[in-house]
Amino acid sequence: MQAANLRIHCLGILQSQTGQAICEIDWPQDNSIETALAALVEVHPSVANELPRCACAIGDEIVPRSYQLQAGDELVLLPPVGGG
């Protein structure tokens, strides 16, 4: 597991802040989303303000930050929404 990278999908304003639709970071040793987000902030400090208001999703499910990442998961970050 630890050898792999974690792909993080940055949507909406996060994409414009990171300049990337997908950021890759080292797979968090404790499989936790919190650790992954901390690592993302180190690479892209600009997202620090937005992250607390973002929801996390895996596939088509929103997951709590306590969710333990599984092999093959890609983390999707959903900033506050506002269509219409």
């Binding site: 909406g12 506050p80 929404v81 269509g83 219409g84």
Partner: protein
């Protein structure tokens, strides 16, 4: 049934989809791109979505609207991509026997879509700047 589209939205097809001889009331809400926001001149908008959850969330809202308000039909379609002034970003269509619940239901449909569907809009202004509009944080279930 289409809930997200990158093509111009067609109200007639949504009206045809929801035809219902038991429903005497039809309420449509449509959101169109307007030429100003907070006194700034808007040139165009880009809408993006996280499609796997956006499609599921819209389908859930349609069902929820029917369950809560007892209306016979509810359809919602949202456009994504680059939109110009006057373009339609969303249609919400509700049909029911009577008009009171049709208005309530259509209002709920658009309010809930704005606050629960992962769609974002970036406003591009005439001065060359652009801004992501402030939104509503999604909650984990």
């Amino acid at each position: 049934m289409t809930t997200l589209s990158n093509q111009p939205l067609d109200l007639d097809s949504l009206l045809a989809e929801t035809e219902d001889d038991s429903a005497g009331a039809l309420v449509v809400f449509s959101g169109t791109i307007r030429n100003h926001h907070d006194n700034k001149s808007v040139e165009r908008l880009s809408y993006t979505a996280y499609e796997p959850i956006a499609k599921k969330a819209i389908a859930e809202i349609e069902q929820e609207v029917k369950d809560i308000f007892g209306v016979t039909q509810c359809r919602i379609i949202h456009r994504i991509g680059d939109l110009e002034i006057g373009d339609i970003a969303i249609h919400c269509v509700v049909r029911s026997a009577h008009r009171g619940e049709a208005f309530e239901a259509a209002k709920y449909a658009i309010d809930t879509t704005k606050s629960r569907v992962p769609i974002w809009k970036e406003e591009h202004y005439s001065d060359g700047t652009s801004v992501f509009r402030e939104g509503t944080p999604l909650k984990a279930d």
